[in-house]
C-alpha cells in the first residue's frame, strides 16, 4: 500500500503541473478558438526565467513565482499582437501551422542564447520530508501539488466570475454578439493570451526543479497539456484540471507497474482513446446538442 501511495503522490505532482499547463491551453482555446502549439515553449521560457532568477541572479525563490507569470504573459500577448492578430481571418490550418513553428522558433531562440543541453534548477523547499506510515512526501512535492492546484482553482473562479472571463466566454460562443455587447475582440484575445502565457510560465516555474530547463521540455509540456485538455473536453477548465491529474497518475502507474517505455506511450493511448470514442471529452462542459 505504501508503494502505491508513493506512486500516486508522484503522479499527482506531475498531474498538477500538467493541469496548470492544460488550463492555459484551454483558456486560450475557449476565448479564441485557437490551439496554441507554442504553449510548451512558453512553459519552457517560464522555467528558464525561474533559472535566471534563482540560479543566475541568486534572487529569493519567491520572486521567480512573482516575476515569471507577468513576464511570460506579456511575451504571449505580444506574440498574439504581432502574429496571431494578422492571421485572425485565416483558417485553423494556417493558425495551427503558425503556432507550431512559433514554438520551434522560441525553443531555438532559447537554445541559441544558452548553448547547453540542460539547466538545473534547485527546488524551493529543501527541508525534511513528511513521513506517515512509511509514506513520505517532500515539502517540495507538497508545494507543487498544493500550489499548482490552488492556482488552477483560482483561475477557474476568475474565469467564471470575472468580467473578462465573461467576455472570453461570450467571445467563444459568438464573436459578433460579444462585439455588439461592447466587448473588444482585440482586448479579450490579447488578455486570453496573456493569461494563457502566464499560466504556462507558472507551469514552467513549478516544473523547473523536476525536469530542468531544456528544449525537450517544451514538447513534453505541449503534449501533456494537449492530452489533458482533450481528456477534459478542451473547453472545460475543470475538465483540464481533472485531465491533467488523470494523465499524471496514469503515467506514474504505468511506469511503476508495467514499463517505463509504456509511460511515454500512455498519454498517446489516452489521447487516442478519448478522441476516437469520446471526442467531447470525459468531463464535457455542456451536453453536446444533437442537431
Amino acid at each position: 500500500m505504501a508503494e502505491l501511495a508513493l506512486v500516486l503522490i508522484a503522479g499527482a505532482k506531475f498531474g498538477a503541473i500538467y493541469a496548470l499547463a492544460a488550463l492555459g491551453l484551454v483558456v486560450v482555446h475557449k476565448a479564441t478558438k485557437t490551439v496554441n502549439f507554442a504553449h510548451g515553449a512558453f512553459a519552457m521560457l517560464g522555467a528558464f526565467s525561474s533559472y535566471l532568477v534563482v540560479v543566475h541572479w541568486q534572487w529569493p525563490y519567491w520572486m521567480a513565482y512573482v516575476l515569471t507569470p507577468p513576464l511570460i504573459g506579456v511575451v504571449a500577448a505580444l506574440i498574439e499582437f504581432l502574429i496571431l492578430r494578422p492571421l485572425r481571418r485565416a483558417d485553423m490550418f494556417t493558425v495551427v501551422i503558425a503556432t507550431v513553428f512559433l514554438g520551434i522558433a522560441l525553443s531555438e531562440a532559447f537554445r541559441l542564447t544558452y548553448n547547453t543541453e540542460l539547466l538545473a534548477v534547485p527546488g524551493m523547499f529543501v527541508g525534511m520530508p513528511f513521513v506517515f506510515h512509511g509514506v513520505f512526501m517532500t515539502q517540495e512535492t507538497l508545494w507543487v501539488i498544493a500550489g499548482a492546484l490552488v492556482i488552477c482553482v483560482a483561475c477557474v473562479l476568475l474565469f467564471r466570475y470575472g468580467r473578462l472571463g465573461r467576455g472570453m466566454r461570450a467571445m467563444a460562443s459568438n464573436v459578433r454578439g460579444a462585439q455588439l455587447c461592447g466587448y473588444s475582440v482585440d482586448r479579450v484575445y490579447m488578455f486570453a493570451w496573456f493569461l494563457g502565457g502566464a499560466m504556462a510560465g507558472l507551469a514552467g516555474v513549478f516544473v523547473a526543479p523536476v525536469s530542468g530547463v531544456s528544449v525537450e521540455l517544451s514538447i513534453a509540456i505541449i503534449s501533456a497539456g494537449f492530452v489533458a485538455g482533450v481528456i477534459g473536453g478542451f473547453d472545460s477548465l475543470k475538465g483540464a484540471i481533472l485531465g491533467g491529474l488523470l494523465l499524471g497518475v496514469s503515467e506514474s502507474l504505468a511506469a511503476a507497474y508495467v514499463s517505463s517505455a509504456l509511460k511515454n506511450c500512455i498519454s498517446f493511448l489516452l489521447l487516442f482513446v478519448v478522441l476516437m470514442w469520446r471526442p467531447e471529452g470525459l468531463f464535457p462542459e455542456t451536453v453536446a446538442r444533437r442537431v
Partner: protein
C-alpha cells in the same frame, strides 16, 4: 493550352530532377552528395503537396513515415538479403499501410486534433524502432549495406546521385500527374467545400484516405532511396523535428502546385549547406521563414515567383473578371414565359408522408409533393416552415424519420448525397458553394460526377497525354458554361467571380451531367434585382431546351411565381396548399400564412 505544351508542363518537374542529376554528375563528390539529398527532399516535398497543400491536412508524422520506408528496405536487405529494388517496392507497400493507418483517425479530424493524432503516430513509431533493438539496432543505429542492382554495386557519390536522380524523377512524374490532374483538383474541392464535393460524387473520406496513402508512399519511397546513402540509420534522425521541418517544405515552397514541393523540398534542404558558417541559426531561421510565409505570402514561393513574372509582363494584378461579362443569349431569352404544364406528365420526384422531428419540434409533418417530368415546382413558405429540412431530406443531407421519397421509382432515402448524381439529380446551394481555388472549367468538369478516386486517377493520366476522356470532359463543360453565358470566363478561378456569376457557375455545374432533376436552393438569394430576371430566363431556357425538371426553394415570391408551373406552400412543417402559382397565392390559407390576413375577412 495546346497539347504539346500541356505534355511539356506535365513532364517539366521530372525533367528538372533529371537535369539536376545530369548536371551534378561531372561535379565533385560534395556537390554530388548535396544534389542527391536535395532530390530526396524534392520527393518528400512533392508528396507532402498532395496531403498538406491540396488536402490541407496537417501532418507531423512525415519523419516516421520516412523511417518506415528506410527501415523496411534496409532491414530486408540486412536480415534477409533482399535485393535493393524489391526492398524499395516493399517500402512502397509499408508506406501505403502507414498512410492508411494514419488515415483511419486522420479522416475524422481537422486542425489541431489531426496534428496531435499524427504526432502520436510519429512518437509511437520512433519509440517502437528504438525499443525493438534486436531488429533495428535501437538508438545506436544500424549499418545499411551498399545497394546493388543487376550486378551494379552503388558505392560512389556519382552512383548514388544517378540512382537517386533517376528513381526520384519517376516518382516526381507520378506525383505531377496526380497533382495537376483530376485527382488533385477533386482533392482541392474536397478540402475546400465538403458539402459541395459530396453533392457531386466526391467522397471526402475516400479522397482524404487516398491523399494520406499517396503522400505516405512518396515519403516512404524517399526514405528508402536515401537510406543506403545515409549509411547509418538511427531513429533520432527521423524524429519530431524532422517531421516539422518536412511540413515546412510545401508551406514555404507553395501549396497548390507540384513546383511548391520541388522548390520547398530542394530549397530548404540545400540551404543549410550554404549556411554552414551560421549552422546554429538554421532552425530558428526556418521556423521564422515559415511564420513569415504563412503571414505574408500564403501561396509560398511559387506564388511569389508567379506574381513576379506577371508583374514583369505587365499584368500586376493577376486575373480579374471582365467588368461586363458576356451573358450570351440571356437577354434574348428574357421574354420566355413558363410553358403550360404538360398534361398528364408522369411524376418524376414523389415525396409522400415525410416526417422529421428535432426533439419536440415537428419540423416536417407528413409532407408530400410531386415534381412531374420536365416540370418546375416551387416550394415556398415563411421562415421556420420546414422548407429547408424537407429540401435537405430530398437532397440527402438530412435523414427522414418516416415517409417515402422516390425518384422515377427509386427510393432516395437510403442513398448518400454523392450517390444521387448517378440517378440524375444535382443541386445548387443557398450559400454559393463553388470551388474557389479551381477554374470555372474545372468546377464544371467536377459537376460531371465521375469522381471516384480511381476514376479520377485514370482521368489524371488521360489529361497528361490529352487523351479522349479529357477532350470529352472539356467539351461538355465548355458547352455547359456557354449555356449559362460564362464561356469567356472558363479559365478564371471561380472564387474571383461576382456572386451572380457564381450562381450561374453553379447552374452550369448542375446541368453538365445532363440530369433529369435539379434541386435549386434559393437560387436568387443575394443576387441583384437586375440579375434576377436574367437568372429566371436562364432557368426557363434550360428547362425548355434540356427538359430538366426543377424543384425550387425560394423566398422571392414574384420570382417563384413567374418561374414555376406549380407551387407547394409549407407552414409549420406541413403542406398547406398546392396548385398553380396564381391559384395558390390567391388562397386564403396562404394569405393568412404570409400576411396574417383573417380568413373570414
Amino acid at each position: 493550352m495546346s497539347e504539346p505544351r500541356r505534355l511539356l508542363a506535365g513532364l517539366a518537374p521530372a525533367l528538372v530532377v533529371l537535369g539536376a542529376t545530369l548536371a551534378g554528375l561531372p561535379l565533385d563528390n560534395y556537390p554530388k552528395y548535396v544534389i542527391a539529398i536535395a532530390i530526396v527532399s524534392i520527393v518528400v516535398g512533392a508528396s507532402l503537396v498532395v496531403l498538406v497543400g491540396l488536402a490541407r491536412c496537417i501532418t507531423l508524422a512525415a519523419g516516421s513515415v520516412m523511417a518506415i520506408g528506410a527501415y523496411t528496405s534496409s532491414l530486408l536487405a540486412i536480415h534477409l538479403g533482399v535485393p535493393y529494388l524489391i526492398g524499395l517496392a516493399a517500402a512502397l507497400l509499408t508506406g501505403a499501410i502507414a498512410g492508411w493507418l494514419i488515415a483511419l483517425p486522420g479522416t475524422r479530424f481537422r486542425g489541431h486534433n489531426l496534428a496531435m493524432v499524427t504526432l502520436v503516430f510519429q512518437s509511437v513509431c520512433i519509440i517502437l524502432i528504438r525499443e525493438a533493438k534486436t531488429l533495428t539496432g535501437g538508438a545506436e543505429g544500424i549499418h545499411v549495406p551498399a545497394p546493388s542492382l543487376f550486378g551494379w554495386t552503388v558505392r560512389s557519390d556519382g552512383d548514388f546521385l544517378l540512382l537517386i536522380g533517376v528513381l526520384s524523377a519517376l516518382a516526381v512524374l507520378v506525383l505531377t500527374v496526380l497533382v495537376r490532374g483530376a485527382f488533385g483538383k477533386n482533392l482541392q474541392a474536397a478540402a475546400g467545400n465538403e458539402v459541395a464535393a459530396e453533392a457531386f460524387g466526391i467522397s471526402v473520406p475516400a479522397y482524404l484516405t487516398a491523399a494520406f496513402v499517396i503522400s505516405s508512399v512518396g515519403v516512404a519511397f524517399a526514405g528508402a532511396l536515401a537510406a543506403p546513402r545515409v549509411r547509418i540509420l538511427d531513429p533520432e534522425s527521423y524524429g519530431v523535428m524532422a517531421s516539422i521541418f518536412m511540413l515546412a517544405y510545401p508551406i514555404v515552397g507553395g501549396m497548390h502546385s507540384i513546383w511548391g514541393g520541388l522548390l520547398g523540398g530542394g530549397g530548404l534542404r540545400v540551404l543549410p549547406e550554404f549556411l554552414r558558417p551560421v549552422a546554429d541559426y538554421q532552425e530558428l531561421f526556418f521556423a521564422s521563414l515559415v511564420i513569415v510565409v504563412v503571414m505574408f505570402f500564403p501561396g509560398g514561393f511559387v506564388e511569389l515567383i508567379r506574381r513576379g513574372v506577371l508583374a514583369l509582363r505587365g499584368h500586376p494584378a493577376g486575373p480579374r473578371e471582365a467588368p461586363q461579362p458576356a451573358v450570351a443569349g440571356a437577354q434574348a431569352a428574357a421574354a420566355v414565359t413558363p410553358l403550360p404544364a404538360p398534361d398528364g406528365a408522369a411524376p418524376l420526384l414523389v415525396v409522400e408522408g415525410v416526417d422529421r422531428h428535432f426533439g419536440a419540434l415537428h419540423a416536417v409533418n407528413a409532407a408530400h409533393l410531386t415534381v412531374p417530368v420536365g416540370g418546375i415546382h416551387g416550394l415556398i413558405g415563411p421562415n421556420g416552415a420546414g422548407k429547408t429540412s424537407l429540401f435537405n431530406i430530398v437532397s440527402g443531407f438530412l435523414a427522414a424519420d418516416a415517409g417515402r421519397v422516390a425518384f422515377d421509382g427509386t427510393s432516395l432515402l437510403e442513398l448518400a448525397p454523392r450517390d444521387r448524381i448517378r440517378l440524375g439529380i444535382t443541386r445548387t446551394f443557398q450559400h454559393v458553394a463553388v470551388f474557389g481555388q479551381l477554374s470555372c472549367l474545372d468546377n464544371v468538369i467536377i459537376g460531371r460526377g465521375r469522381n471516384g478516386v480511381l476514376a479520377a486517377i485514370g482521368q489524371s493520366v488521360d489529361e497528361m497525354r490529352s487523351g479522349p476522356l479529357t477532350a470529352r470532359a472539356r467539351g461538355e463543360a465548355l458547352a455547359a458554361l456557354d449555356a449559362v453565358g460564362l464561356a469567356d470566363l472558363a479559365g478564371m478561378p471561380a472564387g474571383a467571380l461576382s456572386l451572380g456569376n457564381q450562381r450561374r457557375l453553379e447552374i452550369a455545374r448542375a446541368i453538365v451531367s445532363d440530369p433529369r432533376l435539379i434541386l435549386l436552393d434559393e437560387p436568387v438569394s443575394g443576387v441583384a434585382e437586375a440579375e434576377i430576371e436574367e437568372l429566371r430566363a436562364l432557368l426557363l431556357r434550360i428547362n425548355a431546351e434540356r427538359r430538366i425538371a426543377m424543384l425550387v426553394v425560394e423566398h422571392n415570391i414574384p420570382f417563384v411565381a413567374r418561374l414555376c408551373r406549380s407551387l407547394s406552400v409549407m407552414g409549420a412543417g406541413a403542406i398547406v396548399a398546392e396548385g398553380t402559382p396564381a391559384d395558390v397565392i390567391a388562397m386564403p390559407a396562404v394569405r393568412q400564412l404570409y400576411f396574417g390576413e383573417d380568413v373570414a375577412a
